[in-house]
């Protein structure tokens, strides 16, 4: 990691401190007026998100900060990405692949989106296949994306059976031994994990990241 200039440090601090307006104005100035390398700006954003993630873990930040951080990242990304001229290969190698979706019958997505965001900023390649995902779609997506971990999300109690059916179908398709399955959502606990046959459950995005890191043998 190269040393940061004062301006770069300022961008990271403003982003990490949720100073959205100043951070966005500075990022735009760097990108559009000063010709900063867009890959460098995105890397600074990632560093800021590391700090956000740590503050979330430490109980300083909560859902509002993760939502706002995600939006700041998206807004700066929208300015930076069209300016990228270098070819592929510049991005750091991802730790592992995670497929995530809300199980069939359930339309809730706030928790799933936050887990997706936290896994992404922690170096995982995440494919989010949305809400109310039929069992067959999970199986098809696993065959195509070949994830190391599958995350099943659900807020309603009906999700218990949907998760159980999804995991049974993954087993049926002969894919169960090739991946780990984690479940999460409002009502999920050890009783539900046991009922569904998942490998683990989590009650927040940090737990999801820790589970994935542990499974992949990465220091959490």
């Amino acid at each position: 990691m190269s040393e940061m200039t004062d301006q770069e440090k300022q961008l990271v601090t403003w982003l990490a401190d949720m100073n959205e307006d100043d951070a966005f104005a500075l990022a735009k100035k760097m990108l559009l007026e000063e010709g900063a390398n867009p890959m460098r700006v995105l890397d600074l954003c990632r560093q800021a998100m590391d700090i956000v993630g740590k503050r979330f873990e430490q109980g300083e930040y909560f859902l509002p900060e993760l939502v706002l951080a995600g939006e700041m990242l998206e807004n700066i990304g929208a300015v930076a990405k069209p300016l990228i001229t270098q070819g592929p290969g510049g991005e750091p190698k991802k730790l592992a692949k995670v497929l995530i979706g809300t199980v069939h019958g359930d339309l809730h997505d706030i928790g799933k989106n936050i887990v997706t965001f936290m896994l992404d900023i922690n170096g995982f390649e995440v494919k989010d296949i949305g809400i109310d995902v039929p069992v067959k779609t999970f199986v098809d997506e696993i065959n195509e994306f070949k994830p190391d971990v599958v995350g099943l999300s659900g807020f309603l109690t009906l999700a218990f059976d949907s998760m159980k059916e999804t995991i049974a179908a993954i087993q049926e398709a002969g894919l169960r031994n090739k991946l780990k399955i984690m479940i999460g959502g409002g009502q999920v606990d050890e009783a539900v994990r046991n009922y569904t046959g998942a490998d683990a459950f989590g009650t927040n995005a940090i737990e999801a990241v820790s589970l994935c890191k542990n499974w992949m043998g990465v220091a959490a």
């Binding site: 509002p64 939502v67 939006e71 339309l107 218990f160 059976d161 009502q187 009783a191 539900v192």
Partner: protein
Amino acid sequence: MNAPKTYVQSPEAKAAYDKRWQRIMDCVALKQPDRMPTAMFCTFYLAKFGGITNRELMYNDVKATEIAERALLELEPDCYNPLVLNVAMGPVLEALDYKQLIWPGHGVGDHQPYQYLDREYMKAEEYDEFIFDPTAFYLTKYLPRVLGVFDGMEELPYLPGLHYFRLVGGMRAFAKPRVRAALEKIMKAAEEVERFSNVHIDFTNRMTAQGFPTSHISTSVAPYDLIADYLRGATGTMKDLYRNKDKLLEMLDKAAVFLTKQTIAWSRASGHPVVFFPEHWAPDRFMSQKQFETFWWPSFRKLMINLIDAGVIPMPLWEADCTKRLETIRDIPPGKCIYWFERTDMVKAFEVLGDVVALRGNISPSLLTTSTPDEVDAAVRHLAENVFHKGGKLILDAAFGLPDETPVENARAMYRAARKYAS
């Protein structure tokens, strides 16, 4: 119109009703009741209990009423939520063209529950307009967005300031074809709402005659949750904590005032002192304690105090885990509220709040849906022994009511155990 019938309450049924109601009121007043009371709250569990689809429960109020009555007579709780009102509303929702919900028969499968559509129903740039005149905002913006029958009402002129001949001329707006069409549709839909309300009143009258009181009739909402759930959307409001902080605070203050007026009026109209508040955005993990104490709690506390002063008994359901909030939400007058907890450890809640509020809950939904009757019995016994028999004024219930998928034998086990360990 289907006016509710009059039912005769026998002296035995009156005695049973009075005993049940007294148990609840003793808990509220922090007095020891004759035994641990129970409450029943459910929605689509009735479909499971009655062996029909969720869709039938939504659209067939005769069946819904019959099943609800059977469930009450069998499980014999001391109080119950307005069962029919919470499920058999398919025709009403259709009549109003209600857009914030999808339900079995209208957007979700026949065996699924209804689900709320979290969207931005008010834009961030509309805060000023709402704060200046919430009624105008409702009439010409919010209602046309969420109820199809109000489509066209956005053509109404701004009414304050109309005067003299301008007032006379201003009435021309009511001749506009879209406004007229809207008014006609609203009146027609209102007739269906009236019919459905009478089904609900008839049901509660019939159960009253058989000795069963309702836990509440009216539902209200915390100011923050009104904005987060029904206006700005969940993530919209989260962003507003940073982007529109001052406007959000101003709107919360304003909402505490109009929700006070509305909640008192509804409670009086229903003739029931208890008002139910499902609290969605208070949990520990949703916002920091500082944000909770700045944005969530003050306006809700103000609302609760206003209601308590007017003789209303607020019954918030503190969803998810609110352990970190317990010390803060303790700050209300003792003996005036029922605090219903979902995932907060009830023993801990009793330790912190036992001398301030009655408690309600909280048999876990995962236990109820995936375990055995014996395990349910053990969970009820745990709460009876560690809360009620230690002096906690506990009204035993499931964590947020009976989950839709609860096996019938587990529901029976919960109420049976509650009676077994009740005194």
